[in-house]
Structures are given as structure tokens and as C-alpha cells.
């Protein structure tokens, strides 16, 4: 079920889109800017956490700066009948971050499983890719790996202005 956002929630989200101020009392500062009490802001943020609107309040690290210079988006053409069983095994690998089933887009794109693989070198990423190949075994019909060569944009979610 979706959480219904009222105007105050929307104002809060807009105010926090670029992030939380790095000051001793960040919620008080944001609340003051919105003419809200700090308590009310925190109660609303808690409600958004409880309903999953906010996953967490945390840092987004730049993988490259942390030495994870090789990040490969591995993509796999997996037998449909076996995907629901094999997907969670791939997702559970400790070097895989995002792991999803996505639709094929034939003829350009035969792959239905995406798994982000992170490593400190291309060699390490290729080694990890080979482990996924082994894991998928006979269910695998083909695969590829796409390396990111540039971050072109990275922001939090931005809502369009309504009205």
C-alpha cells in the first residue's frame, strides 16, 4: 500500500532532496526552514521510514573514491523456468549489489537477469563473473558485462513541482 503524502510531507521531501545539512542539529535546522516544530518533522520522517517512503537516512558513497574502481553490470540470459530459483542465489553473493529480473527487449537485448558486481580491479570483477557463470550452469544461455566508464549524473529522487 502506498503512503499518501500531504503538502507538509511534500515540502519536507523537497527540502531534503539535496540532503541533510551537516550541522549538530540537522532536523531542527530543516524544521525551522519549513516553519515546523522539530518534533513534528521527526514524527513525519519516522512515519515515512515505517511505510518505506524513506529507506534510510544515510550516505551515498562514490564507489570509485573507495577504490571499487571496477564496477561491472553483469547481465544474464537465464532460462525463465529456473530464474526464480537461481535469482536469489546470485543476489546472495557478497560481491553483488543490485540484483533484479528485468524484461528482455528482443532482438537488441536477450538478458533477463541483472547483477551489479563490484571489485577493486577488472580482473577481480571478471573472476566474480565466472563464479556467477558456474552458479547458473545449464540454465544460462548467454551473458555480457557492461563497465561504467563515467558517472553522468547522480542525485537523490527529485519530485516535479505540482500544479
Amino acid at each position: 500500500m502506498s503512503y499518501v503524502l500531504d503538502t507538509t510531507d511534500r515540502a519536507i521531501i523537497t527540502a531534503l532532496q539535496s540532503g541533510l545539512p551537516l550541522v549538530p542539529a540537522p532536523y531542527a535546522e530543516v524544521a525551522a526552514g519549513l516553519e515546523l516544530a522539530e518534533d513534528e518533522l521527526c514524527t513525519r520522517l519516522q512515519a515515512m521510514k515505517d511505510t518505506g517512503v524513506i529507506r534510510r537516512i544515510a550516505a551515498a558513497p562514490n564507489h570509485y573514491k573507495l577504490g571499487m574502481v571496477a564496477n561491472g553490470m553483469t547481465v544474464w540470459d537465464v532460462d525463465d523456468a529456473q530464474l526464480s530459483e537461481l535469482g536469489p542465489l546470485v543476489g546472495a553473493l557478497d560481491f553483488v549489489s543490485h540484483c533484479y529480473e528485468r524484461p528482455r527487449d528482443l532482438p537488441d537485448w536477450p538478458y533477463n537477469l541483472f547483477a551489479m558486481v563490484h571489485g577493486s580491479s577488472k580482473g577481480e570483477v571478471e573472476e566474480k563473473r565466472a563464479r556467477i557463470t558456474d552458479l547458473l550452469g545449464d540454465a544460462l544461455n548467454g551473458s555480457d558485462i557492461l563497465y561504467s566508464t563515467r558517472i553522468l549524473k547522480k542525485t537523490g529522487l527529485r519530485l516535479r513541482k505540482k500544479g
Partner: protein, 157 residues
């Protein structure tokens, strides 16, 4: 902002401790950084000073709430385009100008531009993809997630 600097940062042990801890949920109290500092055995001032420095150096691209568009009735969708090399920068500027484009990566494939659309309604995805297609004349391939197998990975610093 386009992050072009891919040089790994030089971090000391305290920075590493902090980068790891900052990827967990910050508490909702009056002095959340003091709460975090206490857990780490640091002072509030040191946590804030170092966190600001990590942001300025680009080690952290952002600090704040991670919103889930799906939980608000909205939608996310991974999209890809095959952009000719000689038009890449122009198309990138066009694509990035859309507020629905949450992030965008250049990747090694014929489909060389991969971005995530985040919109308030599921219908918004198609609208945004159509607008981008109309503006650039390049097909936008949409790959919505059908099943999520895992999310919650943290980068160890």
C-alpha cells in the same frame, strides 16, 4: 554535477570507520551526529568535520534520506539508449536536464547510456521516456524491475 575524478581517495582509519557507519540509518534525534559519534568513540565535532570533508572530496556523493518512489505510489525504471559517440555530450545534457533522471552512467556497450527514471506515478515513466525519445530521436529501452533478488549491499571502505 558530473563526477569525473575517479582517483581513489586517501582515507585514514577514522575516515573508513565513518564511511562504513554513515551508510547505516542515522537516528532521528536532536543531535544525531552526537549519537553516532558516541557509538564510534569520536566527538560530534570530529564526525561533522570529517563528514563534510568526505562530501567535499566526493567520497560521499550525498548524505540524506533515500526516498523510495515506489512506496509513494511512484515508480523507478532503468532505461538505456544507444547514443552515437559524436552526439554523446549533447544527448547527455538533454537527458540529465530531466528531473526524473535520478542517475545516469556511461557504459561499455552499444547501449552506452544507462539511467534511472524516478517518477511519482507508474505512468510518469512512459511519459518521461517518450519526452526523452522525442527530444533526442533515440529509442529509450525500458527495463523495469520484475523481481528484486537483493538490495542492501554496503560498500566497505
Amino acid at each position: 554535477m558530473v563526477a569525473r575524478d575517479r582517483t581513489p581517495a586517501v582515507l585514514d582509519e577514522t575516515d573508513r570507520l565513518l564511511v562504513n557507519a554513515l551508510q547505516d540509518d542515522l537516528s532521528l534525534d536532536h543531535r544525531p551526529f552526537a549519537t553516532l559519534a558516541e557509538k564510534l568513540g569520536l566527538s560530534e565535532d570530529e564526525v561533522l568535520t570529517r563528514t563534510k570533508a568526505l562530501r567535499e572530496e566526493g567520497v560521499l556523493t550525498r548524505f540524506g534520506p533515500f526516498f523510495d518512489a515506489a512506496a509513494m505510489g511512484g515508480a523507478f525504471c532503468l532505461c538505456a539508449m544507444a547514443v552515437p559517440a559524436d552526439r554523446f555530450d549533447t544527448v547527455m545534457t538533454r537527458v540529465n536536464a530531466h528531473p526524473e533522471v535520478a542517475h545516469n552512467y556511461e557504459r561499455t556497450h552499444r547501449l552506452n547510456m544507462w539511467f534511472v527514471l524516478a517518477t511519482e506515478t507508474p505512468g510518469g515513466i512512459k511519459d518521461a521516456a517518450d519526452r526523452i525519445e522525442g527530444e533526442t530521436g533515440i529509442k529509450v529501452h525500458c527495463f523495469p524491475k520484475l523481481q528484486e533478488f537483493y538490495i542492501g549491499f554496503r560498500v566497505a571502505a
